[in-house]
Amino acid sequence: MDFLSEHQPELLPGKRTLPPVQGAIEAPHGTTIVAVTFPGGVVLAGDRRATMGNVIAQRDIEKVFPADEYSAVGIAGTAGLAVEMVKLFQLELEHFEKVEGAQLSLEGKANRLSTMIRSNLGMAMQGLAVVPLFAGFDVDRDKGRIFSYDVTGGRSEEQGYAATGSGSIFARGAMKKLFRNDLSEAEATTLVVQALYDAADDDSATGGPDVARRIYPIVTVITEDGYRRLSEDEASDIARSVLERRLEQPDGPRAALL
């Protein structure tokens, strides 16, 4: 964003410095994001909880955003900074597309996000880290791809499935056992909801499906037709069917032993 840094540098995140503070800063944190590829696309999903210390700061936060027509970002970490980072990222992609008349390559988008995370390193050192998961459909290679990041902006492409956030360890474990190479779109969306359920089961900062308040995970699908967020009804159908099975089998589907 050379233009912005020349004209309105105060709008850019990453230029700010924090005054020295004692201990961790209390701010809402987003928790678990998961992504799964399937032949023809990729699914990106997130739970709805934001926590601040041991308190649930928000029950229905949205943490998965479309970056442009063919990609999406799911955010874990400090919610306020992450949302701003996504907003700027969306702006940059759209701006580039309009000025140049062509879209950035998926690699180009992933690299750009990497630089943005690195510019937040100072804040991350003070406990305000932002660690997104980036997923998109690569129109040149004709497949869905996932990129994960660390706090220093280190980028790595993930094969098959990936997770980020506090519940990611449990989600990853669940996905490892459930993932196959020939998933359909419907199976992939069910898989991410299962993984989020497992994350919520073992991580107190991750929210499970809230049937009473009708708060269900955000599930998005990116294929060659572009970005699509599953409607409230579709998401609730998946979440309810997962929940139904869990009433009989609380630990979820069992993988084969050998």
Binding site: Q8, E69, K98, D225
Partner: protein, 254 residues
């Protein structure tokens, strides 16, 4: 010491206006028309790389006749203005009226500044509303004035004749195919009144389509879809055309 010739301000301005008008007249004309589901931009443009029409923001489109490098400069300035405004405040706070004002200021300053040559461009800024009544079309001539247009507008070399032709035939609530055909008819009339054929490959067509589900309403029309709209009956509605475009191009992005 030589005494400079006195040139009256009126004469100086008239000369500059004449210069700009001649530059614009060398370019090909383009037309912008309202139709039932939005606003359509049509122009003759043999180049696939240099566009006359482009997207500025969600509901705002840009069209320009005249010198390419000058209007491209203004276009990028407009995209920056819109993106910055939308990022600082909200996407709804970017309006065609605001953008047209910025363009008018820029063009007016350049036009009356003695050190610079006037820009040889004429712009159209259009915003599609929720309903046809909400549509806005602004024409910005080279001198920095703003003209609020309704229904149809033509800019470029043969603009006067074309807008005369359009004014007589354009009506509210036309379908996309009807509006497109009318636009092509108007463009294919030469200054001497004779008609010539403009093949579909030489047309640049874009729409601001209010029925598009996405936030960004700007869409280019080309290839088979354009040929079908030009040939087919007026029955095809814009939403069908949109569905066709989606299946045909597989989500091709401008």
């Amino acid at each position: 010491m030589s005494t400079p010739f006195y040139v009256s301000p009126q004469q100086a301005m008239a000369d500059r206006a004449e210069y700009a008008r001649k530059g614009i007249a060398r370019g090909r004309s383009l037309v912008v028309l309202q139709y039932a589901d939005g606003i359509v931009f049509v122009g003759e443009n043999p180049s696939r790389a240099l566009h006359k029409f482009s997207e500025i923001y969600d509901r705002i489109g840009f069209a320009a006749a005249g010198k390419y490098n000058e209007y491209e400069n203004l276009r990028i300035g407009g995209v920056r203005y819109a993106d910055l405004r939308g990022y600082t405040y909200d996407r709804d706070d970017v309006t065609a009226r605001g953008l047209a004002n910025v363009y008018a200021q820029t063009l007016g300053t350049i036009f009356s500044s003695v050190g610079e040559k006037p820009y040889e461009v004429e712009l159209v800024v259009a915003e599609v509303g929720e309903t046809p009544e909400g549509d806005q079309i602004y024409r910005l001539p080279h001198d920095g004035s703003i003209v609020d247009e309704h229904g149809s507008v033509a800019v470029g070399g043969n603009a006067e004749q074309i807008s005369g032709y359009l004014d007589q035939r354009h009506r509210d609530g036309m379908t996309l195919a009807e509006a497109l055909k009318l636009a092509v008819q108007s463009l294919s009339r030469d200054t001497n009144g004779s008609e010539r054929e403009i093949p579909a490959e030489r047309l640049e067509v874009a729409v601001l389509d209010r029925t598009r589900p996405q936030k960004r309403k700007f869409r280019r029309i080309g290839g088979r879809q354009l040929a079908r709209l030009l040939e087919g009956g007026g029955a095809e509605t814009a939403s069908e055309a949109d569905a066709d475009a989606e299946t045909e191009s597989g989500g091709d992005v401008e």
